[in-house]
């Protein structure tokens, strides 16, 4: 029989059993699924066509301004702010998370207070406060409380729109990241930190080598989320006169009155950045789930096994 030859001796050959061998099974054609796919593609294609050919969207203008120097400048500001605020936010968030989980009452209360305040108030308001810090505190100084002053600066020299934006975004981000990281640290089995401790690791080392790498699996997805919100949240800094992506397209349409096309320029840029981030997030997630993958990885490393085995 043809099939018997194809699959060699593994195929059942006795009577009807030969036909019942599940390795010969076909997947049924699902006409309902095909119908739904066709419908979805038709609707999607139709929508794309209408939007693409609608003159009101002004696609030629979108194309014309897509790489406009002012837009690119704004894009750079948005990306720069996002990266700096996110990096600072993650570092501070990690410190806050560790402080909040520590047995030290002072550290954990201070951390809780910080998180409570910065999550509990609108980012827009925080940004405006930082920007207007000089009206509250005209001078900033370092010194001993109620004692002599060691150094002092004009607040306006320190808190420019850039620093106000960075401080505002980073502190706000830190509060959210602290809770994400704390959730991740709590998700790791308690036996792991205990084992690290039993082997004489310091707390810091146990955190870095044992706990965090395992916590990353539950930290990365919500952090990706945060990063994407952050990119969009940077558009709030236009209220404190920072020329980010949104601000730059706004200043163009204030001149040309091409509101929709210019907003589309921003929308497409935001979507592009987000797509790139999604790809990056997928890669990071795969990296941190490496202990989970089955034979695939073991098989790939086999030659190395043989080598080390020989060396012994």
């Amino acid at each position: 029989m043809n099939n018997a030859m194809k699959h060699g001796q593994t195929l059942l050959t006795e009577g009807e059993d030969a036909l019942r061998d599940v390795q010969l099974a076909h997947k049924p054609l699902r006409f309902d699924r095909i119908g739904l796919w066709t419908l979805a593609l038709a609707i999607g294609g139709g929508f794309a066509y209408t939007v693409g050919t609608n003159k009101n969207f002004g696609w030629p203008i979108v194309a014309q301004y897509f790489f406009d120097p002012a837009v690119i400048q704004g894009l750079t500001v948005t990306l720069g702010l996002t990266v700096v605020a996110m990096v600072l936010g993650v570092i501070l968030g990690l410190l806050l998370a560790v402080a909040r989980m520590s047995k030290d009452r002072l550290a954990s209360s201070l951390s809780s207070l910080f998180i409570w305040f910065f999550r509990g108030t609108p980012l827009l308001v925080q940004l405006i406060f930082w920007y207007n810090l000089s009206t509250l505190f005209p001078k900033l100084s370092i010194g001993i409380p109620f004692g002599p002053t060691l150094a002092s600066w004009n607040t306006n020299d320190l808190v420019t729109p850039v620093t106000a934006a960075i401080i505002g975004l980073a502190l706000n981000e830190a509060a959210y990241m602290a809770e994400i990281i704390r959730g991740g640290l709590l998700s790791v089995d308690r036996g792991q930190s205990e084992t690290a401790e039993a082997f004489g690791m310091t707390r810091a080392r146990a955190l870095r080598r044992i706990i965090l790498p395992q916590a990353m699996r539950s930290i990365v997805p919500p952090t990706g989320n945060q990063l994407i919100s952050m990119i969009k949240a940077t558009s709030l800094v236009s209220v404190i006169a920072m020329a980010d992506l949104l601000y730059s397209v706004q200043s163009i349409y204030n001149r040309t009155f091409e509101v929709i096309p210019m907003l589309l320029v921003a929308v497409v840029w935001y979507l592009l950045i987000t797509s790139v981030l999604n790809v990056g997030q997928g890669a990071i997630e795969r990296y941190y789930s490496r202990g989970d993958r089955g034979q695939q990885l073991a098989a790939r490393k086999e030659p190395e096994t043989a080598l080390t085995g020989d060396a012994a």
């Binding site: 089995d189 036996g191 792991q192 205990e194 084992t195 401790e197 039993a198 082997f199 004489g200 690791m201 310091t202 707390r203 080392r205 080598r209 044992i210 790498p213 395992q214 941190y288 490496r290 202990g291 989970d292 993958r293 089955g294 034979q295 990885l297 073991a298 490393k301 086999e302 190395e304 096994t305 080390t308 085995g309 060396a311 012994a312």
Partner: protein, 259 residues
């Protein structure tokens, strides 16, 4: 070596008390373990065996009494007649002489078997990475896992994971090895391979304290058996006495469950 030092036990526990809140779990444990000795601790569940083991490397702090390992009081330092609590770093340093094997293996799941074994030697003891790898490969071979050096814990059976955990504990060249029910989480057919590994270690002169329900292992491999019940040591002696001719009725009733 002077005879005084030679006679000092490696582990010395004196009147060890430990409470969790109102619950007194250890009610004055006295135990000496000589260098090279294998001691197994038997006893019903909840009698405080794990707690005692965890007090030895200060995973739990004790409320009364003292524990010494290799001549150093664990967790404290006596200086000019005053007893001070040691800072975390100093306690971490004391733990580096003590290897531990857990009931749930507790391998680091994001590291391969080899990485699990070299983590403490390289990261904590500052060993040269190449030398540590060589020794780790040798240890993994000794526990019969040459084929699995690059496998992740989830790709290993329970028995294999526990043998990696044993190799990991050996890699720090400990003066003392603590085992907390190393075979209790294993399927019955995998218990044998782990016990064989442990018997090998016992015959090589390592100092081991083993909490276990494997009476057979205690009988063959132990120099002394400790029977604990309700936070106290009820009976101590060589296995042929404690297991074969138990003196105390509680020991007798406990052991009768295994026949």
């Amino acid at each position: 070596m002077s005879p005084a030092i030679a006679n000092t036990p490696l582990v010395r526990a004196r009147n060890v008390h430990k409470s969790f809140g109102p619950l007194e779990v250890l009610k004055g444990i006295d135990l000496d373990v000589a260098s090279g000795e294998v001691v197994t601790i038997l006893g019903p569940s909840g009698s405080g065996k794990s707690t005692f083991l965890r007090c030895i490397n200060h995973l739990e702090s004790i409320n009364q009494g003292l524990i010494e390992v290799d001549g150093e009081q664990i967790g404290y330092r006596l200086q000019k007649g005053r007893l001070d609590k040691l800072p975390n770093r100093a306690i971490a340093a004391q733990r580096r002489k003590i290897g531990m094997v857990f009931q749930q293996f507790n391998l680091y799941p994001h590291m391969t078997a080899l990485e699990n074994v070299i983590e403490a030697p390289v990261g904590v003891h500052g060993q040269n990475s190449k030398e540590a790898r060589r020794y780790a490969t040798e240890l993994l071979a000794r526990v019969g896992l040459s084929e699995k050096v690059n496998s992740y814990p989830r790709q290993l059976s329970g028995g294999q994971q526990q043998r990696v955990a044993i190799a990991r504990a050996l890699a720090i060249q400990p003066k003392l090895l603590l085992f907390d029910e190393p075979t209790s989480a294993l399927d019955p057919e995998l218990v044998g391979e782990v016990l064989t590994t442990m018997r090998d270690l016992a015959s090589q002169g390592l100092t081991m304290i083993v909490v276990t329900h494997e009476i057979g292992f205690a009988r063959e491999a132990a120099d002394r058996v400790v029977f604990m019940d309700d936070g106290s040591v009820v009976e101590v002696g060589p296995p042929e006495e404690v297991i074969s001719r138990p003196q105390h009725p509680r020991t007798r009733s406990f052991l009768s469950r295994f026949i």
